[in-house]
Structures are given as structure tokens and as C-alpha cells.
């Protein structure tokens, strides 16, 4: 069963083509790493996969629930971490997952701390915990390692590995190295040169 499939997808933003004719598919246990320099369209690709943008051409198939990590944590600042996560967990009907997700990101000591007091790295880990707790088979992670120290990157990689082992898939956009065994690499800078050559 394919969790998500891009079929000749073209992304246009602000009148500018970011990439053209992009095709790939993710099966359970699969991973794809989107690489390339800033502004090349990595975040747009993630937003396409999340259904927040519509492709200019081609189609995106797959309707499994997906968990999205963007550069915002999307947790209510005034709430303690556990309650802020519980809002999304209640929406996803996965309240039982929250404690384990907090544990996986080494946040169990911070459950009573309001999110507004978090550091950049802690906020990032909290956002990743939201993804982990969602129980969605497909994770869409935009620069998940931003602001994380090396220990936290290790926690992230472990969480991704565990998710894949249990039949999930991840689509990761990152300009920093992140260990994803047997991942498809989608190098958008390569695609751009092809596009420019064609023009």
C-alpha cells in the first residue's frame, strides 16, 4: 500500500516554477530525504504533500492521515506542554500516545512548564513530540533538526526509525545531515539544473 505518491508534480509559487515533473512514492517503512539549498522549494514540497498547496500540474495520491512539522511548533504558548499537546492529541483521538511521545523526546520533566518559556530546541522537540503522538502513518517533517543539539538529533533519528519499523513512512526536508537508512534522496538542486538546461 502506497502512503503517498507524487506523479509528475510541478510546483509554481509566486509565478516561479520551483520544480517540475517530480515523481516518487513512499511505501510503509519508507523514507525520502529532500535536499537542496535554501529557497529551492523543500518547504513547498512538504506543504504540497500536506495538502496545503495545490500542484500546478501532476497529481498527488494517497489519503492516509499525515502529521506535519513546520517551522512553527503550533502549540498554545500559555499552556503547559502536556495540555498544549493534549489539544492536538484529542483532535487526533490519540491521547494515550502523549506520555510515550514526551518520553521519546526527553521532555517528561517539562510537562508542567508553559510552552512560552521553552528554548528553541525544547520547542522543536515539543513539536516533534506532537508528530510522534499523532499516530499518523505518514510524517512530513520540514527541517526537523533545526535548533536541535546532537543528543536531540539522536532522539529524532530514533523516533523516525521506530516509526518506520512500525510501518510508517517519513518525508523529510533538511539541509543539515540526518541519518535516514535506505532513504530515497530527492535533490531539488539537481532538478533545477536540469530545468535550467531545458530552458
Amino acid at each position: 500500500m502506497t502512503l503517498i505518491a507524487f506523479d509528475a508534480v510541478t510546483c509554481v509559487r509566486g509565478g516561479r516554477a520551483l520544480f517540475e515533473g517530480l515523481s516518487f512514492a513512499l511505501e510503509p517503512g519508507g523514507a525520502a530525504l529532500v535536499t537542496g539549498p535554501n529557497g529551492i522549494g523543500k518547504s513547498s514540497l512538504i506543504r504540497l504533500a500536506a495538502g496545503l498547496l495545490a500542484p500546478a500540474a501532476g497529481r498527488i495520491a494517497g489519503d492516509t492521515p499525515r502529521a506535519l512539522l513546520t517551522d512553527q511548533a503550533s502549540l498554545d504558548e500559555e499552556l503547559p506542554l502536556a495540555r498544549a499537546l493534549a489539544f492536538w492529541a484529542r483532535l487526533d483521538r490519540t491521547e494515550d500516545n502523549v506520555a510515550a511521545a514526551l518520553d521519546a523526546l526527553a521532555l517528561s520533566d517539562l510537562t508542567d512548564v508553559p510552552v512560552r518559556l521553552f528554548s528553541t530546541g525544547q520547542r522543536r522537540r515539543a513539536a516533534i513530540a506532537r508528530v510522534v503522538a499523532s499516530g499518523a502513518p505518514l510524517w512530513l517533517l520540514d527541517e526537523p533538526a533545526n535548533g536541535l543539539d546532537s543528543a536531540a538529533v539522536g532522539l529524532l533519528e530514533t523516533a523516525i526509525a521506530r516509526h518506520r519499523a512500525s510501518g510508517g513512512a517519513v518525508l523529510v526536508a533538511s539541509h543539515t545531515p540526518i541519518t535516514l537508512p535506505a532513504a530515497i534522496t530527492i535533490d531539488l538542486s539537481q532538478r533545477l539544473t536540469q530545468l535550467e538546461r531545458a530552458l
Binding site: 509559487r13 499525515r66 513546520t70 512553527q72 489539544f87
Partner: protein, 215 residues
């Protein structure tokens, strides 16, 4: 009503009340009602005659206050992205926001109308008409505020533009609301009709504005 909708409404309600956000429009409403007697002088008869209309104008101005925190903060914090990625439609999100906004806005204004009516020396009869009119008209005002909030979200100087956008559209509410003070049921029916149209249309306008803002 689905549990998701209730969940979204309760979050918005909680956020409206923290930091006294829901009390600001009420304070503004009372302030306008207090300023007016200073401006026209202490003529009790005159105040009693125009007081009902003053309360309506005050309600309109108070509706402007919360506009900037209805949609923009959730867009900026990525909460709306998260909801859309979960397959919620933008119109559903806007509908939940409309109900939550009305619940946070209307009851405090209806209560604040009581002391304001006393300040303006309104008769009990006029007060009752104002309250009935506000009860029917505030859903329309809340709907306008939500649609405007979604349209101006992310703009620089959003508050001022929101005022320019909302107040002309709110004129029908003001005309029929103030018109109902003479005791005619016809004006109330027209007020209800305008309010209903605004409530029915606003979630779709706001939803489309949210969607358009994504690109």
C-alpha cells in the same frame, strides 16, 4: 455538532478569555456610552431619545476591537496549517471561530448594555428593545468581524483596514437595529435577515480568505 467542532470552539473561547481579551470590547463599549453624555451635555431627555442609537453605534465600534486576534494569531502560529493538514476544511475552522467569537463577544456586551442604559437614562422599554436587537444583531456583527479578520490577516496595519472594511458592511445592521427601537417588529425581522445572511456567508468568505493566504 461534532466533537471536533466543540473542541475547536472551546480552545478559541479559552484563548478569548485569557489575558482579559474578551473584556476589552466591553470596556470599549462602556467607554463610548460614557463619552457620549459628555459630548452632548447632560440633557436627560435628549440622551434618552438618542441613547438606544448610541448603544448600537457603541456595539459596532466594540466589534472592531477583537478582529486582529480572531484569525491572524492562528495563521502565524501554524495552527491553521495543522488543522488543514488534518483534513479540516477552512470553512469548518472559520465556523468554529465564528461561534466561539459570538460566545465571547455577545454575552458581555448584552450585560454591559445594562449599566450603559442607566448612564444614558434609557427607559426600561427602550433597554429591552436594545437588548433584543443586540441579541439578534450580534451574530451578524461577529460574522462580519470574523470575515474581516480573515481578510486582513497578515496585512500591515490590519486594524485600521479592518475598520474601513467592517463598518460600511455593518451599516444595515445599524439601520435595522436602531430602527427596531421605535417598537416596530418589521425592523427586527429585517435585522434578523441581515444577521442570518452574514452568519451563513462569513464562514465561507473567511475560509476562502484563509485558503488564499496559504499560497
Amino acid at each position: 455538532m461534532s466533537s471536533t467542532l466543540l473542541h475547536l470552539i472551546s480552545r478559541d473561547l479559552r484563548r478569548a478569555w485569557i489575558g482579559g481579551g474578551a473584556l476589552l470590547p466591553v470596556a470599549f463599549f462602556l467607554l463610548v456610552a460614557i463619552l457620549f453624555p459628555f459630548a452632548v451635555g447632560p440633557d436627560a431627555k435628549l440622551l434618552a431619545r438618542v441613547g438606544g442609537g448610541v448603544l448600537w453605534a457603541a456595539a459596532l465600534l466594540a466589534a472592531l476591537i477583537p478582529i486582529e486576534r480572531l484569525v491572524a494569531p492562528d495563521l502565524a502560529s501554524g495552527v491553521i496549517d495543522q488543522l488543514l493538514a488534518r483534513g479540516q476544511s477552512a470553512a469548518t475552522i472559520a465556523f468554529a471561530k465564528l461561534i466561539a467569537h459570538w460566545l465571547a463577544f455577545a454575552p458581555p456586551v448584552l450585560i454591559a448594555a445594562l449599566p450603559a442604559a442607566a448612564l444614558l437614562d434609557l427607559s426600561t422599554e427602550t433597554l429591552i428593545r436594545v437588548e433584543i436587537g443586540l441579541l439578534i444583531g450580534t451574530p451578524g456583527l461577529a460574522a462580519l468581524a470574523l470575515a474581516t479578520g480573515a481578510l486582513v490577516a497578515g496585512l500591515r496595519g490590519a486594524g485600521a483596514i479592518a475598520g474601513l472594511l467592517l463598518l460600511p458592511l455593518a451599516v444595515p445592521l445599524l439601520i435595522f437595529g436602531a430602527g427596531s427601537l421605535d417598537g416596530g417588529v418589521g425592523a427586527l425581522k429585517l435585522l434578523a435577515a441581515v444577521s442570518l445572511v452574514l452568519v451563513a456567508g462569513a464562514p465561507f468568505v473567511a475560509g476562502a480568505a484563509i485558503r488564499a493566504g496559504l499560497d
